[in-house]
Every structure is written in C-alpha cells, then in structure tokens.
C-alpha cells in the first residue's frame, strides 16, 4: 500500500517539476521576445535568459509567488544589476561635463536641458559650444539656452574645436558647472574620434556623458564600447523616450561602458529631462 502511494507522490512531483520546467521555458521565451523587440542586444538577451532560466529553475519561489511571478522577479533583479544596482545619483555641485555621441542623438538639446536642470538647483552654469562642423550649431545652442541667460562660449567661424575649448576655458570664470557640447561622430570616423580624445585632454572633464538615442538598435553596444575605449564614459543619457522605442540599446551601452544611465530625455522642450529611474525603465522595457 505505502509503496503504491509513494510512487504516486513521486510521480506527481516529477510531473510538477516537468510542468515547472516547461512553464519557466515559456516565460523565458516571452522575456526574450520582449527584450529583443525592445532593441536589447541579441547576445545579451541570450545570456540574460540563460541566467534567468537557471536561477528560476534552481531557486524555490518565495512564499506566495507562483513559478511564473518568481521568474519575472528574477529577471527584474538581473536587469537592475545590469543597470548598476540603481544607486541614486549624487548630483555634482562642481563639475566639467563633456557630452559625446552619434550624429543626431540629442547632445545639443541635452546640454540645454542640463543647463536648466543645474541652474534651477542654484548652480552657476557655463556652456562651451565646440561643434565646429554642423552648420548653425552655435546658433542652435544659443537659441536653446537664451531664456536661461547663460553665456555660450564658442566661435561660429572657427574650424578648430580644441582651440575653441582652450579659449573658452580662459574666459569661463567662476562657474560651478561647465557643459561642453561636441559634434556628432561614430567609430568609423577616425579623425573625429581623435578630435574627441584631444577635446577631453584640453577640457579635463569630471563627467563624460554618452548621449544615446533610444531608437538605436543593435549597434548601441559596439558604438558605446568605442567611445568608452577612447575617452572613458562616466554616464549615459538616453534620449527620445517619448517615442515608441523602449531603449534596450541602453542596456548594452551600460554593459559596454560600465557607466550608469543618469538622465532620460522625454521631449524636445528644455524641461523634458528626468533623472533616471531604473524601475520605471525596466517595466517599460518589458512592455
């Protein structure tokens, strides 16, 4: 009699185990679909889903959580870890901040937004416009920050960005925050990358922010890696999150640079800048 019921229990546990494994696999497939359609790097998705699957199968779900809920909770933890553990950003009170990134990612607009952000918190801000390539770049930045009455140093006629920075630093006086806007560039434009290194050497920034368009797809990690290798990135700003893109490329950028996401851009206006919130970002990422 005992033997019979024991074998019945064993069979039930084995069956449940098989159901659990099947369930976890299905949840992991859904996770892969969500992450891939949010532009997370393919290899990173595969790594993440392997980790999540093995943890979800090994760990016993805490009391009250279904196997499925536990799997999602494990994913959340892995993503928060990837994003740097979610420590709050101690806003610098005195810093030189250099912004770099691909063409059209939103650097100039972000400089204006950051200028207002710091100014609102009582800090004196100066801006250096060192994009000497793009037609009317200086005008764009000047117009954007006009309501802030912040001096924009730059020389619309100059073709030498390094010289613009050098000159500006002699005039910038008592500023708490100095923001440096640079020209867009990608890793195959070797001369522009060399210029970026030269700019960092002259400016000696405390922060180097990589500005990333949330629409950016699978190339995010590769480009971020190149920027990091050349000047060392200390922070990421993710722009255009007011579109339908969910910004999965930012995960690769963080993974490639070891730098946390500091701010997100949510519109064209000068107020459309928010400090990064990992929980909100992840729940949007998972759709």
């Amino acid at each position: 009699k005992l033997g019979e019921s024991l074998s019945g229990v064993i069979r039930k546990i084995t069956l449940a185990g098989m159901v659990d494994e099947k369930l976890v696999r299905e949840v992991v497939r859904d996770i892969q679909r969500a992450l891939l359609s949010a532009d997370v790097n393919v290899k990173l998705v595969m790594e993440l889903s392997k980790k999540v699957e093995s943890r979800a199968l090994k760990e016993k779900p805490p009391a009250g959580l279904s196997r499925k809920e536990h799997t999602i909770r494990v994913l959340y933890e892995e993503l928060v870890n990837l994003l740097g553990g979610g420590e709050a950003y101690a806003l610098p009170q005195k810093a030189r901040i250099m912004l770099v990134g691909l063409q059209g990612s939103g650097k100039t607009t972000t400089v204006a937004k950051l200028a207002k952000y710091f100014q609102k918190r009582g800090l004196r801000v100066s801006i250096i416009a060192a994009d000497t390539y793009r037609p009317a770049a200086y005008e764009q930045l000047s117009q954007l920050v006009e309501p802030l009455h912040i001096k924009v140093f730059g020389s619309p006629e100059s073709k030498d960005a390094v010289e613009v920075v050098r000159e500006a630093l002699t005039q910038v006086g008592k500023s708490d925050i100095i923001l440096l806007d640079t020209a867009g560039r990608h890793k195959s434009e070797e001369e522009l990358f060399r210029e970026m290194v030269a700019l960092a050497e002259v400016f000696k920034p405390d922060e180097k922010f990589l500005v990333i368009d949330s629409n950016l797809g699978q190339q995010a990690g590769t480009q971020a890696k190149a920027f990091n290798e050349h000047i060392g990135i200390t922070g990421v700003v993710l722009t255009k999150l007011d579109g339908s893109a969910r910004g999965g490329g930012a995960l690769s950028a963080v993974a490639a640079t070891g730098a946390p996401i500091r701010f997100v851009g949510t519109g064209e206006g000068i107020d459309a800048l928010e400090p990064f919130d990992a929980e909100r970002f992840i729940s949007r990422l998972l759709g």
Binding site: P135, A136, K187, D213, N215, G217, T222, S244, R246, G249
Partner: protein, 279 residues
C-alpha cells in the same frame, strides 16, 4: 534524405539571430523565418546542403521584400510636365532630413534641375539657419518666414515662387517629429494638404532598431510615403531597418546617406544590404 527537423530548427534559429543582429525588427524577422520554414516544408535536402539551401531561400525572401517598383528620382521629375516638382521630407527627430535635402539638391543640380528650399521647420532652434547655410553653400534659393511661422505657409510660398520663376524642384524641410505625437502628425498632414507634394520621402536612420516599424506605419498612415532615404549607413549600419520598413509599408528605399558631405548620397542597392545581413 528528408529534412532533419532538429538540424533545421538549429539552422533557422542561427539565421534568425543573424537577421536580428542586422537590426531587422523582431516581428519582421520572426515572420521571415516562419515563412522560410513553410517554404522548406516537404522539400528534401542532403544534410550537407541544408545550410546553403536555407541561405539561398532566405536571400530570395529578402530580395522579394525589397523588390518594389521604383522609378529613378530624375525620371519622376522629368515625367511631370507641370513645374515645380514638389518633394516633402519627413521623419523623426535627428535622422538627417535637413542634411539629406542638401545632398539631394546637389545631386539634382548636377543633373540640370534647378532647386528651391522651403524652410518649413519653423520650430526647432537654429533650424532655419542650418538650412540657410546649406542654401548659401550650394547656391540654392531659400524661402523662409520667421521662426514660429506656419510651416504650410512657407511651403506654399516656396511653391508659388518656384512656379513664378520656372524652377524645377521644391524641397520642403520639416521639423523632426515623434511618431507618437498626434498633434505633430496632424501638422504634417496639413503641410501635405497645402503643398500637395509629388513625392513624400521618409528619412530614417539606418541604425534604427525595432521602432522603425512603428515609425513607418504611423508616418505612412498620416501622409502616404512614396519613398525612403536611410541615413548614416556609414556608421557600420547593417541596414536591417530597410527590411523592416519595406516589409511594413511596401515602399522602396531610394537612397542611402553615407556621410556628412554633400556627395555622400548613393542609390540604394539590395545587393549591398543582403551582403551586410547574410555575409
């Protein structure tokens, strides 16, 4: 030897990864692979030929997606008897619309067409000045109003000017706008209603990931897109966005932007794209 189910699944998932890594949107890549699987069903291959057979079939599907009727831009302009030929450029923020307009103008002027620019981005800081610099460098007439003016009115003005002066082409620059911004999509519709363009070109960034589908759909339902130009192809873009967009709205990619100078505009080639995606 009948298709080895397990080997097939393995190869298909490897190819799906290749599609995803070249920036083809997830839903599009999934559809391509499932159609591929259907096509291969019931066929017989030697195990050693399986991979080559899948690759050939995949290349065929990609070509079919890109194979859309398209006349050259110059031919389109020549076919329209009544001048000017009006081209409206639209797209989300920062994709390269303004720069692309300058490139297209240079190309057309090199082929004997006269051009007029309409500065219909009346919103963004420095937008009119940026287009103005290009106009000066290229020797193109620019029609502009004050910042904040009605974009449709600027377009109308430029077309009237072109008509009066017998100019061949009007190129209308518009502000970048997110596909999620209903008000700005309405504004774009109004510009199109007033300007009645002969060609609406969607300017997209070749590095765009999954958002390319939503952007193409929403822009296409607001103003019927006639053709696409993908920019920044020089930034090591695999260009999968071309497949996502072509698959979604069935419109041809006309050109690729390959740099920041006026000459960096090339006719789109399916061969280039297929090589980037499948190696």
């Amino acid at each position: 030897v009948v298709l080895d189910e397990r080997k097939l699944e393995e190869l298909l998932s490897e190819f799906e990864i290749a599609l995803l890594e070249s920036d083809i949107a997830f839903d599009v890549a999934e559809k391509i692979i499932s159609d591929l699987k259907q096509n291969l069903y019931g066929k017989k291959f030697k195990r050693s030929e399986l991979e080559a057979a899948i690759k050939a079939s995949l290349e065929q599907s990609l070509r079919e997606i890109l194979d859309l009727p398209s006349v050259s831009l110059e031919e389109m302009i020549r076919r329209k008897k009544e001048k000017p030929f009006v081209i409206l450029f639209v797209g989300i923020n920062g994709t390269g619309k303004t720069t692309t307009i300058a490139k297209v103008a240079k190309r057309l002027m090199g082929r004997g067409f006269t051009c007029v620019f309409a500065a219909s981005d009346t919103y963004r800081a420095g937008a009119i000045e940026q287009l103005e610099r290009h106009a000066e460098k290229l020797g193109v007439k620019l029609i502009k109003h004050a910042r904040g003016a009605d974009p449709a009115a600027v377009a109308y003005d430029a077309i009237e000017h072109a008509r009066a002066k017998g100019k061949d082409v009007v190129l209308i620059d518009t502000a970048g706008r997110m596909e999620t911004n209903v008000n700005l999509l309405e504004e774009m519709k109004k510009i199109a209603r007033v300007a009645k363009p002969d060609l609406v070109i969607f300017v997209g960034d070749a590095l765009t990931g999954n958002a390319a589908v939503e952007q193409a759909e929403r822009f296409n339902s607001a103003v019927s897109i006639d053709g696409i130009i993908l920019t920044k192809a020089d930034a090591d873009a695999k260009g999968g966005a071309a497949i996502s967009i072509a698959h979604t709205i069935r419109k041809p990619v006309l050109f690729l932007g390959t740099g920041q100078s006026y000459d960096d505009l090339v006719e789109f080639s399916a061969d280039w794209l297929i090589r980037e995606i499948l190696g």
